[in-house]
């Protein structure tokens, strides 16, 4: 099923896709699926969706983990490590370079304009992704009120959010949500 050149093929492909994943790695997931499931048959559809669910459930860098599971399937531990690097390496280099440029032009006249234009848009997108996630975790009035309570507590108190997460994981564990 796998040939000696497969690890390189997968790594190169992931590096390419991560370099164009504007808006976050999930935007290129369909391309990854096509490549590893349909084109090469390294992973079945069932396995691919298992990787996805599992990566979402584990704290930490979930898309990097998901690609590591794919790499592990193709080439064991070296494949997992290579896939992880291919997923975060190229974007990290680009983040570093662009942040350096941003700081260098701190005094430039266009920068406050670009900032005043861009920042509200990205804040709107943060709130939107929170809303989309409320929708994704919605199971009824109980889960919705938990989300609303989290917003209110976070804005009105200085309580450590970790307690809210722990408390709700426990409530959820008893099947109450």
């Amino acid at each position: 099923m796998t040939s000696p050149s497969d690890p390189l093929t997968l790594t190169m492909r992931l590096a390419l896709l991560s370099s164009i994943s504007f808006g976050g790695f999930p935007t290129v997931l369909p391309d990854v699926r096509t490549f590893v499931v349909a084109t090469h048959g390294w992973v079945t559809d069932q396995e691919f969706s298992n990787f996805f669910a599992l990566a979402q459930a584990i704290p930490g860098p979930n898309m990097i983990l998901m690609m590591s599971f794919v790499g592990w399937q193709v080439w064991g531990l070296p494949g997992a490590i290579a896939s992880a690097f291919a997923t975060f390496g190229p974007p990290c280099t680009m983040y570093f370079a662009s942040y350096r440029l941003w700081v260098r032009f701190r005094e430039a006249r266009w920068q406050p304009i670009v900032r005043n234009g861009l920042v509200p848009v990205s804040i709107g997108l943060v709130i939107a992704s929170g809303t989309v996630m409320v929708g994704a975790s919605y199971t009824g009035w109980a889960s919705l009120s938990v989300s609303v309570a989290a917003i209110v507590l976070m804005l009105s108190t200085r309580i450590n959010p970790l307690w809210m997460l722990l408390g709700d994981g426990t409530i959820g564990g008893f099947g109450l949500l």
Binding site: G24, C92, Y95, Y99, I123, L125, A128
Partner: protein, 191 residues
Amino acid sequence: MAELTDEGQPSGQVPLSELFIALLKVSLYGIGGGGLVWARRIAVEQQRWISEHDFADIVSLCQFMPGPNIVGIATCIGTRLRGVIGAAAAVAGFLVIPWTIGFTFGVLYLQHAHNPALQNILGGVSAVAAGLLIAAGIRMLLPHRTRPAAIFFAASAFALMAFAKLPLLMVLLAVAPISIAVAGFQRVSLR
């Protein structure tokens, strides 16, 4: 703890080990995509390494770059504090230990059957994590509340993404140029 000077540059050098541990915390606490919430809480509120404005800058820069946004935030915080070596320490802190734990757990888990109790726990956690993300966004918007255009474009991006369900790239391409143009126009008319 480094205090911010007038230029917004940290006056003392943040030790690389502190940077590593701070981003390790962001990574471990950020269950279900809450990394942004923790990055802001730790870097802005607790350590006072960067200002609210600088953090909003970093977040918007990372929205426009490819790749995992939160890794970008780690890269930028590290770059801001200690340059390239800081970026390496921050990204290593964010990735190495969580990846090792997550990968080990995941590989073990994949060899076993699906567990419904685990699924329920995750449901509760994700409902809170989603609420926290919204709250973090509202906090970031507060410094801009005096600018009606800022509120308008934040609301537009929000609505296009959350309700019209357009892909992110499309929302950015549709809203960002107009928002920048309005910001430029307002600046010109102020003069």
